[in-house]
């Protein structure tokens, strides 16, 4: 008997504070067999368990080539992630996975990649960007677009500045409400698309608030990018991650097993109705 809910102890071997309230934990399964058996694809996620509190879905941001060491960037958002803020090196946490389909990194090979994020930064996208940089010659130009409400919401500012210096990489940043420190664009994320110089053959991958992704999809469509060449990572509540608990349903989709990454073609119709 093996319940799909079985979680496996994993030890935290490193902890990094990204910014106040966002931490990256590096973990290794305690059981060497579990460590050896684990494989994942870019954009998949794990269920992370806090003893006595609960379990939440969290993306894997480290590189799939090193599946023995897993990195998760966690934003403190509520009851379960709240206790994760106190986790430190040496602590043992529960990990089970990997789940979901992941980013279409194979399909993107040889093409320009447009990455759109918004809001409080998006961990899955950081993993994706690092994945592409590690295999830079396999991909065309990289266009990173990111919009925030206020400059204070721009996490990883140094990281954006670092990406901007990479070859064949363009970073487009914007804010709705600038302050004196802001030397990027002003306006909503969709206005960034006026500047975007990506060919119609590019593939787009997005993560962030759904309203933002919807606007971005329309803007990219106007640039000639096809509905089935745009992908977005969705977030829903998940208790099981294996298509049994019913929580992550998005009409006919189970976000846990049919997603979390969906093509715009698959969800376009759904995004028109609120509360689905």
């Amino acid at each position: 008997m093996a319940t799909p809910y079985l979680t496996h102890p994993a030890r935290i071997v490193a902890r990094r504070t990204e910014t106040a309230g966002i931490y990256t934990f590096t973990t290794r399964f305690v059981d060497p067999a579990a460590r050896a058996a684990f494989r994942f694809r870019a954009g998949q996620f794990n269920m992370i368990y806090a003893f006595g509190v609960g379990e939440v879905p969290i993306s894997i941001v480290s590189d799939p080539e090193d599946p023995a060491t897993l990195e998760h960037t966690i934003r403190i958002a509520g009851r379960v992630t709240g206790v994760m803020a106190k986790w430190d090196v040496g602590d043992v946490v529960g990990v089970r996975g990997p789940y979901g389909n992941g980013w279409p990194v194979e399909r993107a090979r040889g093409r320009d990649v447009v990455i759109v994020t918004g809001g409080l930064g998006c961990a899955p996208v950081v993993g994706l960007i690092n994945y592409i940089f590690r295999r830079r010659d396999q991909y065309g130009d990289l266009h990173i677009l990111h919009g925030v409400k206020t400059p204070n919401d721009l996490l990883y500012r140094e990281r954006f500045d670092q990406w901007r210096r990479e070859p064949r990489t363009r970073v487009y940043l914007t804010t709705d409400h600038p302050d004196k420190s802001w030397h990027y664009r002003i306006g909503v994320v969709t206005e960034l698309f006026d500047e975007l110089a990506a060919p119609a053959s590019a593939i787009a991958m997005m993560c962030g608030p759904e309203a933002m992704m919807r606007l971005a999809a329309h803007a990219l469509r106007a640039k000639g990018i096809a509905d089935d060449a745009m992908f977005m990572s969705l977030e829903r509540r998940m208790e099981c991650a294996v298509g049994m608990c019913g929580h992550c349903q998005y009409r006919e989709n189970f976000v846990c097993k049919d997603g979390p990454v969906f093509s715009w073609r698959a969800v376009k119709e759904l995004t028109r109705v609120s509360g689905l």
């Binding site: 799909p4 006595g52 958002a77 977030e235 298509g243 049994m244």
Partner: protein, 368 residues
């Protein structure tokens, strides 16, 4: 052997006794709390003999029926569901250790169950739950443990409740699959037919002999009459397209004004599978159990993620429930999520009737 046999009513006690000797915990519809639910039985006397149910939207009563009729109650609030997909069940025991913790599965060691008096709709519902818990990408070990050794004695419906619509959902009133033995109750005895090798063996153990053509014809006639007199119906033609296209039909708001979001419909539904998993921690803090509990798409937490409820309005939640049941379920699992048992109609305190809601949406489609 697939032929019908004649089974005297007194042989039911014999069947219960044999199943008991073979190690089964024998379950049957038992009257309690003003309704019936599957519970352990020792003899046919534990069944609601001579009792019938009176059901309507938002209303359920047990009342004197016909003397000697054993399976006069069509159905009650309790389906097979809680006996396979438990309402609350510990899945894991997580024990703190000096450096970390250890997670162990909790295996339930209950004896196999035999169910007597299962209706065709409930067998169809169990087959639907099998698709979720056994035949998808992952298998649920706790469900499988109880499911694999169960024995089912079906009873064909010769009478329907006014809330029933199994004919529309093509699941009844005659049991066609998923049973070991099926009975049709006639005034003077049962016609019994096997549905599996175990059922064939049981007929031999019971020493039943072939039924006469007249008995078989009488059984057929009663079932056919029941089908013709079905209380409700639902037009299922193109339902997924209809409900998807009508996601913004004003009817959702209209029904939401009556719906209390109490979740009764999802609790009594034999196919609803939503659940949550919570931690129950021992007082000393060294052991925590991961307990699975039924949940409902009507709860405020169901679509909650990091501080946002994605279905804040009752009409969002009612639409999710009905659209899942009748439309997206077909995309997900290849069949409707509704078997037409009518429980959600009977047990809704507001008397909301999904057949009526579907008809109203169909009638106003494209006009919204």
């Amino acid at each position: 052997m697939n032929e019908a046999t004649r089974m005297p009513k007194a042989a039911l006690d014999n069947l219960i006794a044999i199943l008991g000797r073979e190690g089964y915990r024998v379950m049957g519809p038992v009257a309690r709390d003003g309704t019936v639910a599957f519970d352990e039985i020792r003899s046919a006397a534990d069944l609601p003999v001579g009792i019938r149910d009176a059901q309507e939207a938002g209303r359920y009563r047990l009342a004197p029926g016909i003397d000697g009729e054993i399976f006069g109650v069509v159905n009650g609030a309790g389906s097979l569901k809680p006996h396979f997909f438990a309402p609350a069940e510990p899945l894991l025991e997580i024990r703190r250790e000096r450096r970390g913790f250890k997670a162990n599965e909790i295996a339930s060691a209950a004896p196999p169950h035999a169910f007597i008096g299962v209706r065709a709709c409930d067998l169809a519902a169990l087959a639907i739950q099998d698709r979720i818990f056994l035949h998808d990408r992952f298998r649920d070990a706790h469900y499988e443990l109880r499911r694999k050794d169960a024995f089912f004695v079906a009873v064909d419906c010769t009478r329907s409740a006014p809330t029933c619509f199994c004919v529309s959902m093509k699941t009844g009133p005659r049991a066609t699959a998923g049973f070991d033995l099926a009975l049709t109750e006639l005034p003077g005895g049962f016609v019994a037919r096997p549905g599996s090798p175990a059922g064939e063996a049981m007929i031999v153990k019971l020493g039943l002999s072939a039924a006469g053509g007249a008995d078989e014809a009488a059984a057929r006639a009663l079932i056919d009459e029941c089908a013709r007199g079905m209380g409700r119906r639902m037009d299922t033609a193109d339902l997924p397209r209809l409900l998807y296209d009508e996601a913004e039909n004003p009817r959702w708001r209209e029904v939401a004004a009556r719906c209390l979001s109490c979740a009764n419909c999802t609790m009594v539904c034999p196919t609803c599978f939503c659940h949550t998993v919570i931690d129950q921690t021992e007082i000393d803090g060294n052991m925590s159990r991961r307990v699975r509990k039924w949940d409902s798409c009507f709860s405020l937490e169901h679509a909650h993620i990091h501080g946002i409820n994605l279905r804040p309005k009752i009409h969002d939640r009612y639409r999710q429930w009905l659209t899942h049941k009748l439309a997206s379920w077909i995309d997900q699992f290849g069949s409707s999520g509704c078997v037409g048992c009518g429980r959600c109609i009977t047990w809704c305190p507001a008397g909301i009737d999904l057949t009526e809601e579907v008809a109203a949406i169909r009638a106003s489609a494209g006009k919204g």
